[in-house]
C-alpha cells in the first residue's frame, strides 16, 4: 500500500502540470496511466503535430510539450505507474483506497482525474463471435511471440503494427495478412517487404476483405472473411490478431458514482472537485459552463485542483499563496541553488 497526498489518473499535459503545482505547494503524488509512456494524447495521437496555442510557446509539437513538462516536474521525483489503470475506488474514513489493474494499491485523501477522453484501449473486431476467444486465440497485442511457432496466424490491419508482426511472424508461422483496401498506412519499407513476402509466397496477402466470423469447437479453427461485394473465404487459423489502433474509452471511471454528462464529469470551477469529496477532474474529461478543451485550460484547472487537494491533505495547515519568483520554500522544493 502506497500512501500519498494525491493520485493523478492520466499522464497527459494536464496531469503533468497538476503534478507540478502539487510539488510547488509541497504535496506528493503518484501518477497512473494506461499507456506505456508519458504524454497522453499529445504523445499517442499527435507527437509530431505542431501546437500553436500554448501561452508563450509560439509553436511546439506534442512530443516537445511532453518532454518539457517532464523536465519541469523532475525536481519532485514523482512516481509514474505506466501500462496500468485505476480500476477500483473505495472510501474509508475520508481516505480513498485505490486499486489498479496490476494490483497496486494506494491510500490517498485526493484523486485527480486527468483522463482526457478516457484510457486508450485497442480497437476490437466488430464481430461478436470473436469475444469468447479474446485473450486466448483472438489477440490485440502480443506479449509472447513464441506461442505462434508453427501455427496458422491471421493478422488484420494495415498499419505498422500489423505489417511489422506479419513480417516478424512469417519466419516461424504460417501468416495471412488481411486488409480492407490495397493501400497500407505502414512505413513504406515495411509495405515493400510485405509485397516481397507475398510475391514469394512466404505470406498470404489478402486485400479488400474484412472479418466476418470466427469458428471453432472449443479452440479456434478458422476465420471467415468477406469482401464488400459479398464474397467470402474461410482461412484456417490457430490465432487471429487485430491491429486497428487505439480508441479512448471512459472505462472504470464510469463506475465510481461520479455525475456524468455524456463522457465528461461536471465540476465546480472553484477547485474542480466533482460530486465526490476529494475527487477532482481536470482537462478534457471535466465540464463546466464555458469549458474549452484546450491544453492551457487544463493547466489552469490543474493549478486550482492542486490547491483543492491541499485542504484534504493538510487539514491542519492553512494554505499560503506564494510566487515561484520570491519564495525560498518553493525554490528549495525545486532544488534551485542561488
Amino acid at each position: 500500500m502506497i500512501k500519498t497526498d494525491v493520485v493523478i489518473i492520466g499522464a497527459g499535459p494536464t496531469g503533468l502540470f497538476c503534478a507540478h503545482q502539487l510539488g510547488i505547494i509541497g504535496l506528493k503524488c503518484e501518477i497512473v496511466d494506461n499507456l506505456d509512456k508519458i504524454g497522453g494524447q499529445c504523445i499517442e495521437l499527435y507527437p509530431d503535430k505542431p501546437i500553436y496555442d500554448i501561452p508563450a510557446v509560439p509553436k511546439c509539437t506534442g512530443e516537445e510539450l511532453t518532454n518539457n513538462l517532464i523536465k519541469q516536474i523532475k525536481p519532485f521525483n514523482f512516481n509514474f505507474h505506466l501500462s496500468d489503470r485505476v480500476q477500483e475506488l473505495k472510501n474509508e474514513n475520508n481516505k480513498w483506497l485505490v486499486k489498479t489493474l496490476n494490483g497496486k494499491e494506494f491510500e490517498t485523501p485526493n484523486i485527480v482525474i486527468a483522463g482526457g477522453v478516457g484510457s486508450f484501449e485497442p480497437r476490437k473486431f466488430p464481430t461478436k463471435s470473436t469475444e469468447k476467444y479474446h485473450g486466448k486465440s483472438v489477440l490485440y497485442s502480443i506479449k509472447d511471440k513464441t506461442i505462434f511457432k508453427d501455427k496458422s496466424v491471421v493478422i488484420f490491419g494495415g498499419g505498422d503494427s500489423a505489417l511489422d508482426w506479419a513480417i516478424e511472424l512469417s519466419n516461424s508461422s504460417k501468416v495471412t495478412l488481411v486488409h480492407r483496401r490495397d493501400e497500407f498506412r505502414g512505413a513504406p519499407a515495411s509495405v515493400q517487404k510485405i509485397k516481397e513476402l507475398s510475391d514469394n509466397k512466404t505470406i498470404n496477402l489478402i486485400t479488400k476483405y474484412s472479418i466476418k466470423d470466427v469458428k471453432g469447437n472449443g479452440s479456434l479453427e478458422s476465420v471467415e472473411i468477406k469482401s464488400e461485394s459479398g464474397e467470402s473465404k474461410v482461412i484456417k487459423a490457430d490465432y487471429v490478431l487485430g491491429f486497428f489502433g487505439l480508441i479512448m474509452q471512459l472505462g472504470p471511471i464510469a463506475e465510481w458514482g461520479l455525475n456524468l454528462d455524456k463522457k465528461t464529469i461536471p465540476v465546480n470551477t472553484e477547485n474542480f472537485e466533482t460530486n465526490k469529496k476529494g475527487i477532482f477532474a481536470i482537462g478534457d474529461i471535466c465540464t463546466y459552463p464555458g469549458k474549452l478543451k484546450l491544453i492551457l485550460s487544463g493547466f489552469h484547472e490543474g493549478a486550482l485542483a492542486a490547491r483543492g487537494c491541499f485542504k484534504y491533505a493538510r487539514p491542519d495547515e492553512k494554505y499560503r499563496f506564494e510566487f515561484t519568483t520570491a519564495s525560498s520554500t518553493i525554490k528549495d522544493r525545486l532544488g534551485v541553488k542561488e
Partner: protein, 107 residues
C-alpha cells in the same frame, strides 16, 4: 447553409440546417444528433465520426479525401468503400440535401 440528413443505424432520421464552414460532424454534435461521437473533436485522429455515403453520386461529389483520412478509416468500425469521416466534410451550399448513414457504432 445546407440541409443535411443524418440516418442512425436503426433507421431514425434527423435533419439539420448546418451553416457553411462547419463540418457535417459539427452539424450533428450541435444539434444533439446521436450516432457520431467525435472523441477527438475534429482532429482526424479518432475515427469516431465515421459515416457512410450510400448514394454513389453524392459520394463522388464530395470533396476528395485528404491524406490520412483513409488511414483513420482503417481503424473505424466496419469501414466500407463509401465511408467518410464526417469531420472532414465541410458544409457549403453544394452539400444541400446530403444524406449520411451512421454505422452500428463508432467503436
Amino acid at each position: 447553409m445546407a440541409k443535411i440528413k443524418y440516418i442512425e443505424f436503426n433507421g431514425t432520421e434527423h435533419e439539420a440546417d448546418v451553416a457553411n464552414g462547419l463540418s457535417v460532424m459539427e452539424g450533428a454534435i450541435q444539434n444533439d444528433i446521436p450516432g457520431i461521437d467525435a472523441d477527438c473533436g475534429g482532429g482526424m485522429s479518432c475515427a469516431t465520426c465515421h459515416v457512410y455515403i450510400n448514394d454513389d453520386e453524392w459520394f463522388r461529389k464530395l470533396p476528395e479525401k485528404e491524406m490520412g483520412e483513409d488511414d483513420m478509416l482503417d481503424q473505424a468500425f466496419e469501414p466500407k468503400s463509401n465511408s467518410r469521416l464526417s469531420c472532414q466534410l465541410i458544409v457549403s451550399d453544394d452539400l444541400d440535401g446530403l444524406t449520411v448513414h451512421m454505422p452500428e457504432k463508432q467503436v
